[in-house]
């Protein structure tokens, strides 16, 4: 059967109407599908959050034990100024004081630029660990001087002192008797570690 131009004209509007209805229907399905996917994703997130919250609640007694066990260490770190910003002036003061107290013959040091060791994920903010390497050169009468220097440094606080390297060599200089001649030379790298807790109250 062949349609005339007039008949085709008559069929055009119903066709457009039908196509519009089908398009609207398809849009309805598409929109509903999108909303469904989005809601399913939200549900998955909500379920995960609920599980995590419940698990955290279930572990609360263990957490209480952990907190009471760790709070002392944390407060000690804070007291020693290991937690918080660097105290470079305090470091310099401490070294000067140690040199004077221990009557060290020669002491040279250089504190390098601070670098981040790593960032541990915490909640609500991360905990960042920083290190500044201090290179120390000491002229010693006896190896015990080095150990005392390190111990004094540790006692002075303001950072956690992690010795990374220490070379101890003989100077080969003979004692004159008139002046104190260093017999040993120490060359050490010490990391001055500080912690930045971004969630800590100041």
């Amino acid at each position: 059967m062949r349609f005339t131009r007039e008949e085709l004209k008559r069929l055009a509007f119903p066709l457009v109407l039908a196509l519009a209805a089908l398009g609207a229907g398809a849009a309805l399905i598409w929109g509903a599908g999108g909303a469904l996917r989005e809601t399913q994703a939200r549900l998955a997130v909500a379920q995960a959050e609920r599980r995590a919250a419940n698990e955290r609640l279930a572990r609360i007694s263990e957490e209480e034990r952990e907190v009471s066990e760790k709070i002392d260490v944390y407060q000690r770190l804070k007291r020693l100024n290991i937690l918080g910003e660097e105290h470079r002036l305090e470091w310099a003061d401490a070294i000067t004081r140690i040199r004077a107290q221990r009557e060290l013959l020669d002491l040279r040091y250089a504190v390098e630029r601070q670098r981040q060791l790593f960032s541990a994920p915490g909640k609500p903010a991360n905990v960042d660990f920083f290190a500044s390497t201090m290179k120390v050169q000491l002229a010693l009468l006896h190896e015990e001087d080095l150990l005392r220097f390190l111990a004094d440094l540790r006692e002075s606080g303001n950072a956690f002192y992690a010795v990374r390297r220490c070379d101890l060599t003989r100077t080969g200089q003979a004692a004159t008797g008139a002046t104190m001649t260093p017999r040993l030379r120490a060359d050490c790298d010490i990391d001055l570690i500080t912690i930045m807790d971004r969630a800590a109250k100041r």
Binding site: L11, G33, L43, R50, L57, V73, F129, E143, F160, D167
Partner: protein, 514 residues
Amino acid sequence: MATRRILYFTAEDHYLYRSVGGALELEAKFTGDDLGLTAFRDFLRGQRGALFAVVADLAGEDFHEEQIPFVRGADREAVLSRRLAQRYRDTRLAAGLSLGQVAGAERRNERVLLTSFTNTQQLTPWLDALEEAGVRLSGVYSIPLLAPALASRLGVKDTRVLLVTANRAGLRQCYVENGRLRFARLERTVEMVPQALAMFVRSETQRLVQYLVTLRALPRDGSAVQVLVVAPPGERATFEQALASDARLLFRVVDYADAQQVAKLRRAPEGAAAEALFLHLAAHKPPAEQFASREDRRRYFIWQLQRGVVAAGVAGFALCALVGGSRWIEVMSLRGQVEDETHAARTATQQYERITSTFPVTQTSTENLKVTVVEFRRIAERSADPQRTFQHVSRVLEQYPQFELDSLRWGAGRPSELRDAPLKPAAQAAGGSDSLVLVEVSGRVQATQRNDYRGITAQVQRFANSLVGEGYELVRTQLPFDVTSEGILTGDIGGAAESGEAPRFTVTLARRLP
């Protein structure tokens, strides 16, 4: 629902009915002459696009049974057209109705009933008027074509039935076999009392049965034929009294009001007889078989196509809405679940916060407190103090006064992190990626001749073995000479060129950190 108009066409007058819902209303009446036709044309002037059907109730309707080859589609149409053209002079209003298949000895045939009006000229001007007015003609039917549908509505289950109705045009008798029209005739009647009409029905039925037997449409000695008579309103009892069944005819009388109810005709126009039942069926359940040609029905077909396309679109939308709706219902349900889960999480968090608020003041979050301490402990465990090493080496040296140290290299960390370059190969040799403390002790062996290789080797090995312990492992021992097969061993025994310098050695130790 669109209003349909049905032109009831009789030999004398023509009645135009309007079918609205379940009601049939008489809209106009036209005489069968030219005056009537003119009035009809006038009426149609404002009806462009209206839906029309024609139901003819005429005496001159021919029925002829034939067999054609069993073919389908265009072939069947062509065969039927040829047969109709052979039988009727004017085929504009002719139709071929299928009566089923017959299996012959050689081929399968189809029984068809060829039917048309003996005088189509009385209908043609009226159909032309409809065409000119631009109305949509759904079909041209005759009362017999509608009879099988009415018989079915009236609950006929027998294979053979005679449907008898008193129409405005006269007494109509339709023979229906297996639900298909087989024969029909119209006998004109005059005004008569119900009793007389019933007797007339009886006599005409007997005549028709006899005729059908002659035609072999009915078996000569077959079982009784059911005759279904639609009695005028309230005359059922009179008809039943007059129409007693016998061995050949089994009468069943249905009151017109009951038939109206069964046919779902709520309201029939004043003065209409049983033809109203047929007209109602023509408006609401028209049969596929009818007389109008494809061209006569073209506007109606386009109208059907328009509605079909829109209906398909609406059906598609409804289906999509159903699918979309079910998804939205699922979305609503999931949103409820999300709210429940969020509420449960919030409750658990609040409970957690309430409990943790009783914990010691930490100045930070519990999580950060744990992270800070755990990570700090890890760093502290991987750090070491040289003091322990110095003490260990000093203790061993006290046992070996002939050994004098020149240097001591100490390093701590992972092999990749070690800052003392000379220690790195030893760290690799110590193995793995674990954090460790490495100590390289270099010195000289006094009071032993340089050429006493065996003596020096033994002393250095003893010294090195003494350094092992307290977590320290021996990584490497370097003697002042090479005693391996790959190296060169030299000696100057008794010569004057002995340097007097004590032989040098290096011992490297490692201790693993946690």
